[in-house]
Subunit: 224 residues, 6 copies
């Protein structure tokens, strides 16, 4: 089994980090390749960024469709996910949907850690699109006074605050760029911490093994 | 006041029809221009169509931003609307959001007439995004046995069925291509029928006159 | 075009303030008259106040129906709005519904500024009636320790707190008596501030111009 | 204990029917008096009817407040109920709220039988106001082809259809004028049938006996 | 009329306290007996506790079914309530459902006081099961720094905080063990305080007197 | 890795069928054992059945906890699932939750096929508990006139009707007893068909491999 992870941005470092997390989960059980999106911005933050990543994502999916068994969209805002599910008959899984649906099975409510305050409303809109607003504790960004701290310290602090202030029981890392922090963070806070890349691999490999994919009855059928 | 109507597809006929409806409403009170989207598909139906329209829509908005007071996105599925609101500081109105929010003020529940059964789930997802699922009677496509009938007959039949079967009290034309059918249809069924292009002009001209536009506090702010 | 603004209370000062805001928006484009409600309380705050305004509002609407093209109910709690929509076949718009539906198109979530803590639950019930609870950041009253401050200072402070504490992106003035504060307030807080009277004029004049009014299919049909 | 049942209309026959149902439930345990509303319409169906009943209802409540322990509003649309709860410190119960809240404890979903198709949307809006839309099977009016049948036959047929078509498990009589049909109907359809007058008596007498009434913390407090 | 109150735990002290509250409400009007559950834990807090109480509760209900007119489940989390409603054709009322449905009729929003922070998520899940999340202000536990205070002081403080911080207007005692605190607490905070045992008696005796019970149409029918 | 599948009923045939489906998915990748529940009913249909299975399920989980890496509850109504998640620190997955959460990622809306009309309301309550009511097309039982048909014909017909009448795009087998029908059924109807046992294995094995389990922060923590 071979899984292609499409990193919707063009950042080689983030691509490498995602590749490492994926390989660590895959071990020798299945093959996994993470590719950056040609022509995409270095980071996906705005709605325009999302659209600018689209041509490259479509091209990548169509070019690589033959050679892989399933596809993962590795940006936590699930950019252009509906189109990806529509284009191919093979399974496509977003790291946002995978991590938040799994989180909803592991505790009463989950919080998503976002890098900036700016992306909180966008994330809330995404959570609602996934019909998960009833199990969301909060979308939590690190406090602004921590501007000088390391990324790991910031994520840790935001996660602690989500547990204390918002009564979250599960933490979801809200950015593919946080990939790799999950285990250490979980040990520190005493609660499950979900890396979307791994969560999407769980779902995608399961679907491939089971022989399931997106329904082509209507919504995700490109031919109508 | 000058309003630019961006037709997200590249069909010259639909562009001309939208232009006519808009001029009829505008009269001599304000200027209105409808332009097709360069490089876009002839018709927007799939999620991929939506993304393929994006580069041309962004280009059109940026090129014309200076010369107009507000922008209307004239496809009823409001393609790429969040990005359009984010890119400019001037008002941007989707014909889907405008027509369905106005419809919610005119009766108990509204139905949206869609051209095909294929677009019913996509439209339902859009209605939920707009927080209007509680006032939606149905998304209604013409019965498949009417395949040979004229477009106007099909829309009429679907609207009648929405009133009878789904207890709709207001009808929303679910495609910019139905522009111009509103008045005749309303006379035939005895209920308000809303053309999204006119509805968006009501909102957009009102916002310009009042001096209001999209909040740049967070969600639609491109600089963060 | 002539619009009648029914002020559901009997306060001549508030009636004059509404008239000024309305004329400023109308300019020479359409005629607008604001009238107080005969026999109504000086201020509408309680549920009983709402009912005591009803006979005068009904009388005013019936007496003036011929001479105007549309009617606005200029109290932000939209008192007796369903009955007004039922009685006449001409458009009727509440300043509460108009301002909050427009606000939902301009940002992620809006807050309504109310004069007193007392009216917060009533306003929340109204927001739910309009199916807008999913886009409400908060109903915000000025902090009680500001009892001695001017009305404008109080509204400013409440709006600032709504942005900071409740993550509102748009502010709605929750009382017709705040009419006129919108522009200054918006400049101070850097976010859209909506005066319901102007918002209702946008919708009402648009409906008249388009030839649309309340559906008489069932809910708002007085003859059954 | 003495309960005043306010019939919001002025129909002496309906007042007598309500009185009979109430006395049958009360037996010798408590006193109950049903009074029609002075100046109200003969039947409450439209929103304007509701407002025209208001002055008489307020007058009746204020005049009789001293002499009774609790008040019931005996029209299933709960007209002006918020104001009634606000005006007095004694318990006020609507037959709509009482019957539908009790129904929600007796089965999976309930249907409300309404006399006419006209009142279906109004009833749906009321059900939502009571936060009961999630346990509503349907609001059901008798089929129009039964125009010539007796009231009892019509209600029976509507109830049967609600069970078969809408999977209701409990039936609520949606009009005080149906008072007295409950037991026979229940025997015929094999499901609980709730008369709102009796349901309101259950709640109102319980509140009096327990010493509970409407909270005056904020929403229903006339002094602010 | 005779009501059996099933205390799902096996604590004789709590059983006696419930018996006292019940008798005080019943007076000489009806008979009431509270029995502990054989084989049940001393206190019901976890999900496993709930299941361990089940065999004894089923046995008690079946053994006593003949001799009583209705049954009350006197633990505020309504343990095994669906099964109890299914097993007998006589009315069964949970003190959780009864108190929270009544509370929703007495004010804008209610708070439930829980003994520990641990049971907050379980209570929130129960509130949602009852379709009451829209009228819940909060589930409130006493602040942890009050560990040394008396139970009554703790409940009082939690109730005060619910009113101030969460804008509750009605307080529901979230544990049968708080039975008897209602009147004193209500006097101290100036808001209605509901003891679930009394609330369930109001509903259960009303149902018996009216001749109503659980619908056996489908959901609660053991024979299918 | 070794997974224990707890069949909440005591039927050896159904246990064997589940074992076969599970082994087919597991192949040589992981070990899987399905055990019936000692003392449980032969089939779980009523709420009482659920409780009667509880002691055996708890006993089985506690006895086998050491020897397995994760546990699956193999009855589609997820009986006693909260308690199972609470008792052990290892992952526990219900076949209902797993199949319906996966289904929500594969199409616009899903339908659950239930064996009898009786279990429709119970299933609807479960769907709501999982916060999935917004993506449910319907719970569908075979038409009653098919009483004489084979189980497979009945499920096929119900699935076809769900696609045609309720616009489902994905089918979920609503009973562990339907295990094994998925592939043939999917080929016949042209839409994904999900067997909950396999879905739960996807999630459970993924969680084990990733090192994740139920949060013990509060809701599912037995020690408080």
């Amino acid at each position: 089994m071979k899984i292609l992870i499409i990193n919707p941005n063009s950042d080689p470092e983030m691509t490498a980090a995602i590749q490492r997390s994926a390989e660590e989960y895959a071990g020798t059980e299945f093959g996994v390749v993470c590719k950056p999106t040609p022509g995409a911005p270095l980071f996906i933050e705005t709605y325009e960024d999302t659209l600018q990543a689209a041509p490259g994502m479509i091209q990548l999916l169509k070019e690589e469709e033959e050679g892989f068994d399933a596809f993962i969209i590795a940006c936590h805002c699930d950019p252009n996910l509906e189109a990806m599910k529509e284009i191919t008959t093979k399974p496509v899984v977003g790291i946002g949907e995978a991590s938040m649906k799994l989180a909803s099975m592991l505790g009463h409510r989950f919080s998503v850690i976002s890098t900036t305050v700016h992306s909180i409303p966008n994330k809330e809109a995404q959570v609602r699109k996934l019909h998960l607003e009833g199990v969301l504790a909060s979308v939590k960004a690190p406090p602004e006074e921590m501007a000088g701290a390391s990324d790991e310290e910031k994520v840790l602090r935001a996660a602690q605050l989500a547990l204390e202030e918002d009564k979250a029981e599960v933490i979801v890392l809200g950015c593919a760029g946080m990939s790799g922090l999950d285990k250490r963070l979980s040990a520190q806070i005493g609660a499950p911490v979900l890396d979307g890349v791994v969560c999407a691999l769980i779902i995608a490999t399961g679907l491939v093994k089971y022989g399931l994919s997106t329904s082509k009855i209507r919504r995700y059928n490109p031919d109508y």
